[in-house]
């Protein structure tokens, strides 16, 4: 594997202004209308995956975080924006180019019960990944190597098992081994632990971190659990209703959140230190309500209808990413942080 020798921190995959709109089927009475309705699933998303780093993408369900992963894996064509692999703009649609792309960028799905074929053995799944990506010379050694990497040892015990004979955590490890079979540079992990039992989640996360260090991988970790993002990721990006609202170093984002939505998310996360006596049922001013419809997203900042500190400007002007404090790389798309001189 020559690729692992690449310097850490090298940019592998970049999304620039990535946008995805899903068209909504028109009803009969709308058939002559000019405008086409669409679900604005992802709007203007920028992110950079570097070797040896984990970037977490945090958001509620429906915020567009999985769509970002699928766009980056080129499973959906994008509406606008650009995906750059090592600085080269790529748009692939099936066939050989897609395979070449997939050899470098692999995806791990949420549900290991659905992502492995129940009628095939583990050996079949891994062999296929190795053969398709042309890494199958010396097959047996390669299979052993893959299973050892994901700590399924001894490999002989697992090779001829069927998925139903394995537990959820073991299945997810097989899915990770399959992704590694392509010898990728970037892994896109879409909620890789949310379907697993609580006691084995950390095992899988620690495995991913270990792989990142040993194979110098770039990992995109998609999650709704902001505490696990703090634990696992170097950088954290927060998405709301299809847009990025805040980003920066994981520790900074979770300890000193800037955007009102991130604050709401962190306040809502279960916190054992806050005991039952301290719950104040009357605290209603923190942005209750629900995420907006993405067919007609709110104008301006998409969080403004729920935001406790919304200003008149928020409903009209789309906030731009603004630097927060003096921490380099910490930004939030919120007008609260707009300094007067920039505004003028």
């Amino acid at each position: 594997m020559t690729s692992t020798k690449a310097p850490s921190g090298e940019v592998v995959l970049e999304a620039v202004g990535l946008t995805k709109h899903f068209p909504v089927r028109r009803r009969l009475r709308q058939i002559f209308r000019k405008e086409h309705e669409a679900v604005h699933a992802v709007d203007d998303v920028n992110l950079t995956l570097r070797r040896g780093q984990v970037v977490a993408l945090v958001g509620e369900s429906g915020s567009g975080k999985s769509t970002v992963a699928r766009l980056l894996a080129q499973l959906y064509p994008r509406t606008d924006g650009d995906i750059r692999l090592h600085g080269v703009s790529t748009r692939v649609k099936g066939g050989r180019p897609f395979r070449e792309y997939a050899a470098r960028v692999q995806m791990i799905f949420q549900d290991p019960f659905a992502s492995l074929n129940p009628v095939h053995t583990i050996r079949y799944h891994l062999t296929r990944a190795l053969k398709i990506h042309g890494n199958a010379e010396n097959l047996d050694a390669a299979l052993h190597d893959l299973l050892t990497r994901v700590s399924l040892t001894p490999p002989e015990r697992y090779l001829d098992k069927f998925p139903h004979e394995l537990s959820g955590g073991q299945r997810q490890r097989v899915a990770i081994a399959r992704a590694l079979g392509a010898r990728p540079e970037a892994l896109l992990a879409d909620e890789p632990v949310s379907m697993l039992d609580v006691s084995i989640r950390l095992g899988v996360l620690n495995l991913l971190r270990d792989l990142k260090e040993r194979l110098n991988l770039a990992i995109l970790y998609i999650t709704h659990d902001i505490a696990s993002a703090r634990y696992f990721a170097d950088q954290t990006l927060v998405m709301y209703a299809g847009r990025m609202v805040e980003g920066g170093d994981s520790e900074t984002v979770t300890q000193t959140p800037a955007h009102p939505y991130t604050k709401l998310l962190i306040d809502s996360a279960p916190d054992p230190d806050r005991l039952i006596a301290d719950i104040d049922p009357l605290e209603e001013d923190r942005g209750n309500g629900e995420p907006p419809s993405l067919i007609r997203p709110p104008s301006g900042c998409r969080f403004h209808p729920r935001c406790p500190s919304a200003m008149p400007r928020c409903s009209t002007d789309l906030p731009v990413p603004l630097q927060i404090g003096d921490t380099p790389g910490h930004w939030a798309a919120c007008w609260l942080y707009d300094s007067p001189e920039v505004a003028s």
Binding site: Q170, V198, I276
Partner: protein, 334 residues
């Protein structure tokens, strides 16, 4: 704590019959006191949902209750065993005394009926003498109580968001003013923001209406925050039971400690976490002795052979807690 409202004594639940039966709940004894929130935590397959369905006799076949008692103490009445009720009595008992909010409650509403119909259905079955008008008024009152404006009475479930549907389900459970509400993973399908709103509201309602809650979830960090007492299940047995704060500060059973260490903290110092090695046991091939011993970092001689008894630990002077672990053997109770 005040007097008990529901006592589970040595409940055993199997799936299947004879030799092939899988023991999903074994010898569980648990007491729910009036007005408290009892958290029941465990991983999938630990038997926590089976326990909830067992004690209300809602288990679908092949689930069989093979032993034990569930004693219900009605307010100002004689206690009786739920498992011995006749079908007719059971029908009256369910919902009026004990209501359940099911897992994936968002999908438990009938999509082709308005929520008003579904709310009043319960009243029609349990209080047939009530007039149409009173039923409607009661349903509206219930919606208001759970924070939905009563003009949504005529909405169909698909017109409501997930969080609102969940609120409707909670409202439905409370409409007959039961003494006990069992919530089986009520907020797992919801986002954290919505989860906190709904749980906050539930706690407030509990203070107002005075019911008791059995709260089942796999998210222990949520339980520590929202419940008074926590019971932790593993492999069909309760391995530890204690007040929430006590479990959080000082868990005695290695499994409880491991479970607590499986949640990365959002605040405080960042530390390396390990989770628990291995995977949860298969109920069909349960390890001998303590079922946690193959994964336990502290296992020693008696663990693989003898099953530890749940009881107050003899080596510690702490009231109100019990643990089933050989590290802290139970007091001999005469």
């Amino acid at each position: 704590m005040s007097q008990p409202v529901l006592e589970i004594r040595n409940l055993n639940v199997d799936y299947g019959l004879g030799d092939k039966a899988v023991h999903a709940v074994r010898d569980v004894s648990l007491t729910l006191h009036r007005g408290e929130v009892l958290g029941l935590a465990g991983e999938s397959g630990s038997g926590k949902s089976t326990l909830a369905y067992g004690l209300t006799r809602l288990l679908p076949p092949p689930g069989v209750i093979t032993g034990g008692q569930v004693i219900y103490h009605p307010e100002g009445g004689q206690p009786y065993d739920v498992l011995a009720l006749t079908d007719r009595k059971l029908r009256q008992f369910r919902w009026a005394e004990t209501a359940i909010v099911f897992q994936g409650a968002m999908n438990s509403l009938n999509p082709v009926h308005k929520i008003s119909t579904q709310l009043t259905d319960v009243l029609r079955a349990h209080e047939p003498k009530m007039s149409e008008h009173t039923r409607g008024a009661r349903a509206r009152e219930m919606l208001k109580l759970v924070g939905i404006s009563p003009d949504r009475m005529d909405a169909y479930p698909h017109q409501l968001s997930g969080g609102m549907r969940q609120r409707v389900m909670i409202g439905m459970a409370l409409i007959l003013q039961p003494q006990v509400v069992i919530m089986d993973e009520p907020t797992t399908a919801l986002d954290v923001v919505m989860q906190r709103q709904i749980l906050g509201q539930l706690i407030e309602l509990r203070e107002r209406l005075g019911f008791s809650v059995i709260f089942i979830t796999h998210d222990l960090s949520l339980l520590v925050e929202f419940s008074n007492r926590i019971a932790i299940m593993y492999g069909g047995r309760i391995v530890e039971e204690a007040p929430a704060a006590t479990i959080y500060r000082d868990a005695l059973h290695p499994y409880s400690a491991g479970l607590l260490a499986s949640f990365p903290a959002l605040r405080g110092p960042k530390r390396e976490l390990a989770g628990i090695p291995g995977s949860p046991p298969d109920l069909a091939g349960m390890p001998s002795g303590c079922s946690f011993h193959p994964r336990c970092p502290k296992a020693f001689d008696p663990c693989p052979t003898t099953i530890p008894v749940l009881g107050p630990p003899a080596d510690l002077n702490s009231a109100g807690r019990s643990v089933a672990c050989w590290l802290h053997p139970a007091l001999e109770i005469s």
